[in-house]
């Protein structure tokens, strides 16, 4: 018989090992899936993980894309991880991301076509505030009425999507856009454009913000008393209350951070890579960031690596669709496997396998 035995304390080795193991298992099972689809499995894996960075022809285009895609994922995932550490499950980062983009873009478009250097910083502030305000809705409802933040934040994603559809057709529509839905393009509005800082690097202000957020979260969680309180609340809520931590304060803090970072990510995206508010400008970063947060073990450095890895599978996945004709759904399945195997191997951090006869205890 095989059975699981609880470890006296979580294994450090396994904590570090599980993401690597999960990636390897995903490659193996994903490879089998590609083979069943009639595509060469090794080539598919090489295209997903290797070619985006080193292919002689495509790498020049796809390498900068790595940072473009990883930036928002990391920024959102860092914000979410603070809440997840405290046991506060903000699933609605996608909505906060959309609201950040709408508010930030609205702020910029209001000043079109002036050229003040203060416009872009003001947009970032407005974007972060928009996301923060959207996250405050589940926070206030939870503190005041004890509602479940998972449901409220998730449902608010659909509200945000409806708002996005509305403003791109009405309020923020480009007056010179011949009636097409969608706002003015920020590429034609230099004071508000989140351009690449170095040409062809993919590095825009959102990426810088993501790196700063990683460092900030790392210092907060390891050195600062508020980070300690967040971890304590997640580990043992009663002990946190005994220590004097106010649960309401942690809820506001964590949802607020998550919302503000998601909102800022939305603004950086809409004013940079996306360029304009459109009906379907959001591309699921807010949901994928949940995977990134867990893949990174809710640890800032882990999230940084996980964000880059996830971005790689995105770009590699597109490349594989292009070169091998793999169906898009199979790439999503591939990414889903990554989280699945991570959660499955995660068991070994807290449990160890025992072989031998069973014993009732």
């Amino acid at each position: 018989m095989i059975r699981l035995e609880r470890r006296p304390q979580p294994s450090r080795a396994w904590t570090a090992l599980t993401p690597v193991l999960a990636v390897l298992l995903t490659m193996v099972v994903g490879g089998i899936m590609f083979a069943l689809l009639g595509k060469p499995p090794l080539e598919a894996i090489r295209i997903i993980f290797w070619d985006p960075l080193f292919h002689p022809q495509f790498a020049a285009y796809s390498r900068p894309q790595l940072l473009v895609k990883a930036g928002p994922l990391i920024l959102i995932a860092i914000g979410l991880s603070l809440g997840f550490r405290a046991g506060i499950w903000n699933i609605g980062a996608e909505g906060q991301y959309i609201m950040g983009a709408i508010c930030g873009a609205g702020m910029g478009l209001a000043f079109y076509p002036t050229t003040s250097p203060l416009i872009f910083p003001a947009m970032v502030m407005a974007g972060a505030l928009g996301g923060w305000a959207w996250a405050m809705i589940p926070a206030v409802l939870k503190v005041r009425f004890g509602t479940n933040e998972i449901l409220v934040s998730l449902m608010l994603v659909y509200v945000a999507e409806a708002l996005l559809a509305s403003v791109s057709q009405k309020l923020l529509r480009n007056p010179e856009g011949m009636g097409f839905p969608g706002s003015r393009n920020f590429k034609q509005f230099p004071a508000a454009h989140n351009a690449e800082i170095f040409a062809n690097s993919g590095m825009h202000w959102g990426v810088i913000a993501a790196f700063v957020a990683v460092i900030f979260a790392y210092v907060l969680l390891t050195r600062h008393i508020q980070g300690f309180n967040i971890r304590l609340t997640g580990e043992a809520p009663r002990a946190a209350r005994f220590s004097g931590v106010s649960p309401a304060r942690i809820i506001f803090l964590c949802l607020g951070f998550g919302g503000a970072l998601a909102g800022a990510a939305g603004l950086f995206e809409v004013s940079g890579p996306a360029g304009q508010i459109t009906i379907d400008f959001n591309s699921g970063y807010g949901f994928t960031a949940i995977i990134v947060a867990f893949l990174g073990r809710l640890h800032p450095v882990g999230i940084l690596l996980a964000g880059l890895l996830m971005a790689l599978t995105y770009i590699g996945g597109e490349l594989a669709q292009l070169m091998l004709g793999l169906p898009g759904a199979s790439i999503q399945l591939f990414q889903g496997m990554l989280l699945f195997f991570l959660l499955a191997t995660d068991v070994f951090t807290n449990f160890r396998l025992r072989f031998g006869k069973t014993e009732v205890t």
Partner: protein, 506 residues
């Protein structure tokens, strides 16, 4: 009466890193009350788990009534006539007494027949119980009766009782003993696990003493003194706390007309509690578990705020202040539940030090935790209170209960509180460490702190307290000096016998 019922020969059980039972052999006779004595960690639980079929021995064998006895699971043990009443009850609070009893049976009869059987057994053995009451509304003593009746309905030959008196008032203990004596006179053997020596001397025919997994002796407790039994149990004599001069100073903590609603469906409301504690004084608060102990601690620690004016610390009203400001003002506390309340199981001892000592020990400056200082503080608690741990980096949940308790109490004492409130300070701690903790509390009082000890261990309260009061259904009895009290008075203060009657021994 001289026939052997259960015979254990060379029982051995090892767990990774520890031998829980090492070559234990003894006999239990038909109809005798046999005590199993030992400190926490001596191997009593493992031994009875083997008898009850919960754990398989590595070596050794058992015979029951002359036949080999190898219970593979509790069901088999029950079928052979071995029943057990656990220390922690396994009852569903939302179900009725009869439903709970039915859940433990292989082929439960119809509820009406079962209710009649329950009534019969409860009348025969003086354990009155309404089969249709919901368990959530029963007191701890009544819940124990449910467990006992559940066992008696199976007509056991051997009844195992694990520390049954820890949740009872002295009067309830007398009634339980009468029931057990009646059972014994009818031929049911009882294996009685305890570390309360006086109880064993008055109740048990024989006693087997375990120390560090080995049998030290089997003796007749009535012929030994409690001190002899205690020394057999511990292996050496330990220092009893030193009596001290009673120098009480100014009132440090005053509680006036404190009333709070129950925190949850099965919590206890606090009803009009008033008392005060002076500098240098130890106030002992007894009571059966679940009569408002946790709720009182939460109201004093600041986890629950109370109406203005109800809690006054050194002349300042702190009723509306949270735990942090109360700690700043010198009011510290240690809750009963170690894992998850007093300490976070998955966090290190260093981090658990920061949990309450962050501000008083200056472990945080401008919002940043000074981990070097925090480590030194945790280390000083570990050293001062002899906490056995590989390092201060170890997770709190990896420590044994007694060691974590030493850490939790030590953490508060080393912060030099003006007022310290502790709930069950020595629960699950071995005798030597318990003596050390009590001594530390007395030393702290001698230095001028006011201390409130909430405990269910009356011997402990008698040993450390100057004044005594009892909590009963959220009310506090009048406080009396300990020197004027005897056990009977204490029992009445704790709420008497909770409507129980002595078994009508035929």
């Amino acid at each position: 009466m001289a026939d052997t019922l259960l015979s254990l020969r060379g029982l051995t059980k090892a767990y990774p890193g520890v031998v829980a039972n090492d070559d234990v052999s003894f006999d239990i006779r038909v109809g005798e009350i046999h005590a199993l004595l030992g400190e926490n960690g001596a191997g009593k639980s493992t031994l009875v788990k083997m008898i009850y079929g919960l754990v398989k021995p590595d070596r050794g064998d058992m015979t029951l009534g002359g036949a080999p006895y190898v219970p593979g699971e509790p069901k088999a043990a029950r079928a052979s006539g071995v029943s057990m009443v656990f220390q922690h009850f396994s009852l569903f609070e939302a179900l009725s007494v009869a439903e709970n009893v039915a859940l433990g049976m292989e082929n439960p009869p119809k509820t009406r027949d079962l209710a009649r059987q329950i009534r019969e057994v409860s009348e025969t053995y003086g354990l009155p119980l309404d089969p249709f009451r919901v368990v959530g509304t029963l007191s701890a003593g009544e819940r124990q009766r449910v467990e006992i009746i559940r066992c008696l309905l199976q007509n056991p030959r051997l009844l195992i009782m694990d520390e049954p008196t820890s949740v009872l008032t002295p009067q309830e203990v007398e009634i339980l003993f009468a029931t057990l004596r009646k059972l014994s006179s009818e031929g049911t053997a009882i294996l009685y696990i305890s570390h309360k020596l006086e109880e064993i001397r008055s109740l048990c025919d024989h006693a087997t003493i375990l120390r560090l997994g080995k049998k030290v002796a089997t003796c007749t407790p009535a012929e030994s003194t409690a001190r002899e039994l205690g020394e057999l149990m511990v292996g050496s004599s330990f220092a009893a706390p030193v009596a001290r001069a009673h120098a009480s100073g100014a009132v440090l903590l005053e509680v006036q007309n404190l009333s709070l609603p129950a925190p949850g469906a099965f919590g206890t409301p606090l009803r009009d509690i008033s008392f005060s504690v002076k500098a240098g004084e130890v106030l002992g608060l007894g009571g059966v578990a679940g009569n408002g102990q946790d709720e009182l601690l939460a109201a004093l620690s600041g986890e629950r705020l109370s109406p203005p004016g109800s809690v006054t610390l050194k002349g300042e009203d702190v009723s509306r202040a949270g735990p942090m400001s109360r700690r700043d003002a010198g009011l510290l506390s240690a809750p009963e539940e170690r894992l998850g309340h007093a300490a976070a199981p998955a966090m290190s001892l260093i981090e658990n030090g920061v949990l309450t000592a962050a501000r008083r020990e200056g472990l945080v400056s401008r919002g940043f935790v000074n981990w070097g200082k925090a480590r030194k503080f945790a280390q000083s608690v570990i050293t001062a209170f002899d906490v056995r741990t590989p390092s201060p980096m170890a997770a709190a949940g990896a420590l044994s209960g007694g060691n974590l308790q030493k850490f939790v109490i030590g953490r508060e004492i080393l912060q030099r509180p003006d007022v310290l409130v502790v709930n069950q300070p020595t629960w699950g701690v071995d005798a030597a460490a318990a003596a050390a903790i009590r001594q530390a509390l007395l030393d702290l009082a001698a230095k001028g702190a006011a201390i409130i000890v909430i405990s269910q261990d009356l011997d402990e309260l008698m040993e450390v307290s100057d004044r005594f009061g009892a909590l009963n259904e959220g009310r506090l009895s009048p406080l009396r000096p300990v020197s004027e009290l005897n056990m009977e008075q204490i029992g009445l203060m704790m709420g008497g016998a909770h409507d129980m009657e002595v078994a009508h021994v035929a």
